[in-house]
Chain length 407, copies 4
């Protein structure tokens, strides 16, 4: 057992930290100003393109992607880098082409795409010249169970025809999100986990109606493509847009999930670290009743608890990443579930305190903590509410004890 | 001891409930549509004027105001009505002319205004033809201590000249908010609680720059006048705009505070009751893993806890109201502090569960729970963060025990 | 609505407070010394008899019992007195003949006893010359559901024969507990709520084996009769010992329950008030890192939260008492459930803080807070764990919303 | 970074697990019976000696001690073994000569003892033939700050004379605890951290009055030597009993502390794992309202949360152990503080749920969970209350941010 990062990770952490300090943090104010100055645009602020160029130049690009197409890092190596990106969560992931949902989509295309699909869609995604969306969640059913999707994908000669309603399709409001990877039911009569397929639907396809941006506590998130409600009405795409084979949808979703959750959690830890810094900075600079907030007992309690909790979720996330690398996503199942449960709740708690310490400023647009709170809050719901994951984790735990007792 | 409402209250509760069911709830969808259709307006949606007319016609008007100018109710009588208004918090208070900050401002003018001030400002406020704002909070200092205000109010012959910066001035973005009651320092050398004054500043006064709407978790709250940042630069108003006398500002603020907090808390309880209903309705109608959410243990736990907690904060708020009526705001001090501490935290907890049960819909614009969460969250900060009130309450508690021990 | 106590209550509160200050608090040390000096005795320390004499003399006796046999108070009148008794929970209830389980047993005999039963058992109980126990909980089944009891009560000519195992039968280790009221199954084939009976079993009955004292976190509670495990093996009692009629057991249990829970909760509030005083006193007298604990932010937070929470559970308990008086136990069902859920958890929280502030002393025998913690902890289990009550309360809440929606 | 145990650890874990299953768990019932049958004895039950012999024979002995005198393991190697011992916390540590406070005392003598001291005291301790106590905590001062001790150690020719009062001196009630290591003040005028000394006081020394066993929530813990109150009145020991030199007391205490806390935390994790098993087992075997507790949502929530939290504190503890091995106790300071804060609170939470699931049995002597709860609860106080550690940790955190900002 060894808690040191390997040399590759150490070197990349240093370079990435420099990039953050030299380019990303200074860009934050500009990013906000550009956003404010074009209130009706769903494109990311133009400064993002400058940062992408710089990141690409420095080789801080596609860090998330294993293999030759990407930076070739393991999950354990990427995790601490992803944390650093999370410190400026609206900018750094975009700037380094490491932003969801593109990361997951690139992984899917990388693992399951045909050479033609890769050429048409993966290459420009890797290149950062287009974006993408992943259309799974539906308003009418509990999204926690992928087998619930009701959108239909029906073969019609050499095409597939798609009908259904999706919402909270992140990134899809960005006009540059050229493709949607749509999860739907292709065979309602197949086995429960073989009914679903995933298919590539180009944005311009007739019958694809991107209706409106869903909000998150009042935020439209147009800085990273928003969250679209999309209605598919007889949307027709060539049969070769199918990813892998009919019926593989559930398996692909599972494969996409593990790394996705790890990334979310690592970014959360970055948010938490930055929030703790903001908390301490504000508490140090603000007086109330004759002494700095940072000298007041309750504030110190929050600061200490934040540190104690951050250390715990970071280690748990790193261990999950290590398990994914060593025994695979399946072997890491419990740990992945555990961080999915622990990290959002923990970081939400920290952000609540960060808001409180900032006073009215804490809920405002002048500090990032309210926006981060809202974002983190959604992760207790996204990809299944906590309660579903706890129930599943408990079932396993019970099974383990019983089988041991029976042995 | 008797927990029954008196006949006046019972009768008004019934009439108000009918008004809610007949006019307010059905107006909610229209209200949202009108809001959406005029995205750049800071005026409340036009349906509000229809509702005001109806409420005035039914005598459900100015219920908050004791004495002949208003409905003449005690705090204890108004409290349960205010709770009912809180069930549709963005509409019902406006519709019945019982919305903050106008209520507090009307109370101030009613208690401390000159006949001229009353004629010019109170009458149209009572009438519902104009609105108002209360400018106290400043970005640069801890707003929890009213003696901290830095805005200056300086006598210059028969005028006062105002300089300073305020923010989160609720309602002030509404162009119909014709007057601002501004709290500032008129004599920095006076005793600590005699340095402040309150003065009426008409919106149009040169030197009043209403800069921007502050946000609350992404919401601009333009449906009820937003929260303005206002800069006063040599804003000059006639000396007769002073409310009461120079140096009375702190005392007026205190007088305004007690009822204001009670109203906030009662509205919160209305929000909580409605949220619990939404929670139960959603849980009853939504299945996951083969049974309705409402049959799942964790959800039931939340529902039960919500009920148990609501009952407690309601009783505490009613008792505080009763104390204000019987022994005055000062005698009710501890209880007012206690509900200020307990109610927002409790209702926030309930709303968190309501969000969770609604899934992605819970954070969206399609259900009110995320917006209510954000609103309630601010009340852990507004008018002093919880921690300040807890500290003060504890100090009292310690003093009580010590003096008893010393006796 | 009126939060004032009536004159009878006010007068009794004053007299009872004087009795506490003059007799009970000074007796606490003696009580402990007497306990320590007879480590193997299950009798209460002798000072209790002195206190009983004094209480009887002052008319502070059987305050819990409505009607002519007792003090004739309503639940609402008794509640604040019971709170005062709770301030010295191991002494004051015994001293005033207001201790569980005797109170509930006297109520049962008072309501359902035959003249002979009253003469033989109720009179000496009212008199304070004997004690009693209530044998319901069984180790083998979930005690939260009274219909689960497995102990059998079988008619055999003019006797009943009892077989079964009970545990946590409070008070039964005291040799002066002359009678046990035993709940058992008399007719397993009857309707679910008509299978149970309650019967009086004199302590000396052959076949009654009082096996051992069950502990509560290491405490044997021999100061108030412990908690016995009792095995009944063909214990035979005359048929006239049946309380009311065969099959009435469940109904009697329900009738006994409401007041019992109120009493527990009021006592808890007394414990909480006293604990808060101890907390403040200790925090005022103890320095750490250069200033009194009472000046430290986290400690103040605990003190304030304690006050805020106590006020809430007190009001809820009083309202439940008022409802019992005005609309009956059934009408007060939700409120009784609510305090059963809220009060133990709240007071446990307060006691945890009281322990913490006392340092090592907090877990020791030198301060009462650890013992109170243990006692309060059991009330989250006794008479059904919280979770059962929450589940039932939620079911009601769901039914209410649905029926309203359907109306 | 690598989360695998090394081969030595893996092999020892296997052997230790076998020892637990073959000898320790089966001994638990006998241990309890022997305890019950000698209610006045402060000696551990005789079965402990049998187990010690077996453990010694198997080489599962002094695992905690680095270097040649012990098993020679690093902290990181010992941690997971210590966790296993914690699964039977009243037996396994004693059985393997790895019980506090002997472990810490052996470390002190090992590091700082003279050859004579080692021969007289360390050898029989290593051998398991005697036990020891560590006398630091005093009733009169906050024990969280070692510089507070008031007990005096005064040189008188070739002796030292000790006066003072200590309490909660764990293990000292065991007559076989032949020596006390006493912390006291030898020079009140020296620098703050040079005033203290540690000295060996043989149990038989005249003037050593072992007064009484302090309790922990009603438990006397006589199975592992209780917690003594000890009064020293002119207790006189030879000057060569001084450990290291006069004034080294504080430094020795610090050196003793790091490993001690790690051991406590690892044992806690063992307790938590066993409690979770007990919880699951009970929940699987007990029905309520028609289905096993293990199928009820709230119970599952507890089980899942328990697992998620255990994983986090384990990783944090292992990391702290690794830091101690690699950068020393000082470098591991924050992490040691963090587990000291996190582990007791977490495991207390788990035990609360374990108690609840066991119903009345949960607070009884028939299941271990109440006793463990009490024991764990003390660790939020022992060696400084949580609040002190949080305050210190926060101060560091604030310093870090400030120095970074200033850089």
């Amino acid at each position: 057992m060894d808690f040191d990062f390997d040399p590759t990770t150490l070197e990349l952490r240093e370079r990435l930290t420099t990039f953050m300090e030299t380019h990303v943090y200074p860009a934050e104010r500009i990013f906000e100003e550009q956003l404010d100055s074009s209130p009706d645009s769903w494109n990311p602020p133009p400064i993002i393109e400058d940062l992408k160029e710089e990141a690409r130049r420095q080789g801080l690009w596609n860090l998330f992607l294993p293999g030759e197409s990407g930076a070739g890092l393991t999950n354990l190596q990427y995790a601490p880098l992803c944390e650093i990106l999370g410190r400026s969560p609206h900018i750094a992931p975009l700037a380094t082409n490491c932003a969801a949902p593109d990361t997951g989509n690139m992984e899917v295309l990388h693992m399951f795409g045909t050479p033609e699909q890769k050429k048409e869609w993966l290459d420009p995604l890797l290149d950062g010249s287009i974006r993408s969306a992943f259309a799974m969640t539906e308003p009418a059913v509990a999204s926690s169970d992928a087998t619930n999707v009701e959108t239909s994908i029906v073969r019609d000669a050499d095409h597939y025809v798609i009908n259904g309603r999706k919402w909270y399709i992140s990134g899809a409001m960005d006009p540059n999100a050229r493709l949607l990877i749509v999860m739907g039911k292709s065979d309602p009569d197949a086995d429960r986990h073989r009914q679903q397929s995933m298919i590539i639907v180009p944005r311009e396809t007739p019958g694809v109606d991107i209706r409106r941006g869903m909000k998150v506590f009042g935020y439209d998130h147009r800085d990273h493509g928003g969250h679209a409600e999309i209605v598919f009405t007889d949307a027709r795409v060539p049969a070769e847009n199918m990813i892998s084979r009919e019926g593989d949808g559930f398996a692909i979703a599972q494969a996409r999930l593990g790394p996705g959750r790890i990334h979310h959690c690592m970014r959360l830890i970055g948010i938490a670290e930055r929030s703790l810094e903001l908390m301490v900075t504000r508490a140090s600079g603000r007086e109330a009743f004759g002494k700095p907030l940072a000298d007041q007992g309750v504030v110190r309690d929050w600061i200490a608890e934040s540190r104690v909790r951050i250390e715990q979720i970071r280690l748990l996330t790193l261990k999950a990443a290590w398990l994914m690398d060593t025994v695979g996503n399946k072997g890491a199942h419990t740990e992945i579930q555990a961080i999915k449960i622990a990290a959002p709740a923990t970081v939400e708690w920290i952000l609540d305190k960060a808001v409180q310490i900032h006073g009215a400023g804490g809920v405002s647009q002048d500090f990032p903590v309210a926006a981060w709170f809202a974002q983190v809050r959604t992760l207790r719901l996204a990809d299944g509410p906590d309660e579903v994951h706890k129930n599943a984790l408990a079932r396993n735990e019970i099974r383990k004890v019983r089988s041991h007792a029976g042995a």
